[in-house]
């Protein structure tokens, strides 16, 4: 008797979690190997939880993925913790995006704006920094609305929501980390939810390598500033991998 074939969206307990729908490569091969679906899932809520405080290093994490998006695609920064800097977007090669910075006076308005953006757009990238922690129902509403579209939805809450449950299918915890006696700086990522639950190891993603020529990191006289190039991450082209 043949095994009945179940729909791939139905998860059986002995399976490793896998993504349903399209994914977009993160640009970091080490991270791609760990996340089910080998990339950021489109149309799902993704939580990036900082270890200490937010506003640190999410955009660097997302930079290879944003660089691979189609030109003229829309990126919306919703209530970020600080003012964004246009020059940084130019420097990191993200200048063919269209950027919009949305602020709001109240947290309820910001949540409403997030819902409207997901509802009315199909291929946008939304990075949302909620000022106050969102409840489970609110997160679920965001996820359900995003499921019907192909938006990339990143939620960067405060550090303390780490222990709360959330309906997001992918949750990462990250902190900046320097390795190799300061010659390399990057992020240490721990996948809380979404990957193989048995391993709780931390991934290290290097984002910056010190130029080999400079001997000491700080010299008292003027030195010619080395050109700081971002690490050329072999980011895959924006080929959507359907599962």
């Amino acid at each position: 008797m043949n095994q009945p074939v179940l729909h791939p969206a139905v998860w059986r307990a002995h399976q490793l979690p896998c993504a349903v729908g399209n994914t977009l490569s993160t640009g970091h091969p080490a991270l791609d190997a760990e996340i089910p679906g080998h990339g950021w899932p489109l149309g799902a809520l993704i939580e990036l939880i900082p270890q200490h405080s937010n506003g640190l290093a999410e955009l660097s994490l997302l930079q290879p993925c944003l660089q691979a998006l189609a030109p003229n695609s829309l990126t919306i920064l919703l209530t970020p913790p600080h003012t964004p800097c246009i020059q940084a977007w130019y420097h990191h090669g993200l200048s063919q995006q269209r950027l919009l910075w949305v602020n709001s006076d109240t947290a309820a308005d910001a949540y409403w704006a997030a819902l409207q953006i997901i509802r009315h757009h199909q291929h946008a990238t939304l990075c949302y920094w909620p000022r106050h922690p969102l409840s489970y129902a609110q997160l679920r509403q965001l996820h359900v609305l995003a499921r019907q579209t192909q938006n990339l939805l990143f939620l960067i809450p405060h550090a303390k929501v780490n222990t709360q449950s959330s309906p997001a299918p992918l949750r990462l915890r990250y902190r900046p980390h320097a390795a190799n006696q300061g010659n390399s700086w990057g992020l240490a990522i721990q996948i809380i939810k979404g990957a193989n639950m048995l391993s709780a190891k931390e991934l290290y993603l290097p984002l910056w390598q010190a130029p080999i020529s400079s001997a000491s990191p700080f010299s008292s006289h003027l030195v010619s500033v080395p050109r700081h190039e971002p690490v050329s991450v072999p980011c895959a082209t924006a080929s959507l991998q359907k599962h």
Binding site: Q51, H52, G55, L56, A57, E58, L59, S60, P71, N72, L74, P80, P81, H82, T83, P84, C85, I86, Q87, A88, W89, Y90, H91, L94, S95, Q96, Q97, R98, L99, L100, W101, V102, N103, S104, D105, D109, W112, A113, Q116, I117, H120, H121, Q122, R175, P176, H177, A178, G182, W185, S214, P217, F218, S219, L222, V223, V225, P226, R227, H228
Partner: protein, 435 residues
């Protein structure tokens, strides 16, 4: 062949002119040819609208449904009649019973013959004189010699009768739509509830769209004035800007409801005035067969931005527009979004940029120093990368500023962008965070 509809109120009904003016604005949706045939009666010429509305019967029913909807609060005793001549319709409408239709001239003439002469506006003396002559109906009046009637002071009546019976043509000057639109609606009770205000505003928007439809115009800015109960409180003025030229209610209503829901009203509102100051020619909107058409997507995006701007305020939506300068905080210019197309960052035409942090702090925060090194939150920062000199306006003595920027790292490995002035080497400022 022509067809006229006359809607009349009894001559001594109160407030006739205001009611008729309001009704005429509503009836302009059915035909552009309207006029006030008398002070208490409205005439519509329906011949040109028959094909669009699917025949005289459908149009009659539609107009009457609309009249009942309009009449809900007033309960005015309307009388109406449909006839091939204008004055015939008027005379039929003035007589009882109400709501008559006739389509052929012969039928009209028979019906008119049976009418009593008090439908005509006669003075008391003239009606007494005609009664003495035993002239009680219009048929008998027409049998009297015309020269005698004209001599006795009734020439206008003869002309009216001729026009009613279809023997002469009648010419009317049709109402023209006003060159600008202003509408004031008084609510039944003063309220702060946004749902009530939106309901009242919906009626005004309908009138606005009818007016726009008549002249084939479109507008993209509305001005609302909400008048409050208290005499010394100034009316609240709201301006609503839309990113594309709109002429349908579905273009206006979502943005308006968001705006009204977000406005905090201190005092109750008892009247709303809707005004449109600038209109422009309507451009043809073409629908696309494919769902991913870039025009449709762009229209949807602008609709989204309109809604966001209406609720959050236009100052909360910002797009990047870099200014050419050496100083980082001057380059970082974020003007408010004002209903234009959003372009990519590339359109700023900046050249290749040096390394900059993702987040800038504006203004830069001064850091305390531990020993000789800068510190943040009590922890000393370690300098990672050497100084980058940024100077500005070296040709001016006053505003010349030279800064040395460094990349610093704290014990949690977070990277900051700090600077110190070239002249005062002991003060450190935090200008950016590497995200």
């Amino acid at each position: 062949m022509s067809l006229y509809l006359c809607l009349a109120l009894p001559p001594h009904y109160k407030n006739t002119s205001a009611v008729l003016t309001a009704l005429s604005q509503r009836m302009q949706a059915y035909t552009p040819q309207l006029c006030f045939i008398q002070a208490h009666a409205l005439l519509l010429k329906l011949q040109a609208s028959l094909v669009l509305f699917g025949g005289h019967l459908a149009l009659w029913r539609r107009i009457h449904t609309d009249l009942q909807a309009f009449n809900q609060n007033l309960s005015a005793p309307w009388q109406s009649a449909l006839a091939p001549t204008a004055w015939g319709a008027y005379l039929l409408a003035c007589a009882q019973p109400t709501h008559k239709r006739c389509l052929r001239l012969s039928t009209l003439q028979q019906r008119l013959d049976r009418l009593p002469i008090n439908v005509l506006a006669l003075s008391a003396q003239q009606s007494a004189w005609l009664a003495d002559l035993a002239c009680h109906s219009l048929a008998q009046l027409r049998q009297l010699p015309r020269a005698g009637l004209a001599q006795r002071g009734l020439p206008q009546l003869l002309q009216q009768l001729d026009q009613a019976y279809g023997l002469e043509n009648s010419v009317f000057e049709w109402l023209r739509p006003a060159p600008y639109f202003t509408h004031r609606l008084e609510l039944d009770f003063s309220t702060r509830h946004s749902a009530t205000l939106i309901h009242a505003l919906a009626q005004q928007i309908e009138l606005l769209t009818v007016w726009l439809q008549q002249q084939q115009l479109a507008c993209d800015q509305l001005w609302l004035s909400l008048q409050h109960d208290h005499r010394h409180v100034a009316p609240t003025q709201l301006a609503i800007a839309l990113s594309r030229s709109s002429y349908l209610p579905s273009d206006f209503m979502p943005v308006l409801s968001e705006k009204l829901a977000s406005v905090a009203l201190a005092k109750p509102v008892y009247a709303i005035t809707l005004e449109v100051r600038h209109t422009h020619e309507r451009s043809v909107r073409s629908a696309s067969l494919l769902p991913d058409d870039p025009h449709t997507l762009q229209a949807q995006e602008q609709f989204l931005f309109d809604k966001l701007a209406a609720r959050l305020g236009a100052h909360n939506l910002r797009y990047p527009q870099a200014q050419a300068s050496h100083i980082p905080e001057q380059v970082n210019n974020w003007p408010s979004y004002t209903q234009q197309r959003l372009h990519s960052i590339n359109s700023n035409n900046l050249t290749l940029q040096p390394l900059r942090p993702y987040w800038l702090l504006n203004p830069a925060i001064e850091l305390a120093t531990l020993g000789h090194s800068p510190s943040l939150h009590g922890q000393a920062l370690q300098l990672i990368q050497g100084p980058e000199r940024v100077q500005s306006a070296w040709w001016q003595e006053q505003s010349h500023e030279a800064r040395d920027y460094y990349i610093a790292q704290d014990p949690h490995h977070t990277r900051y962008w700090i600077y110190r002035l070239a002249k005062q080497a002991d003060r450190w400022f935090l200008h950016g965070i590497f995200g």
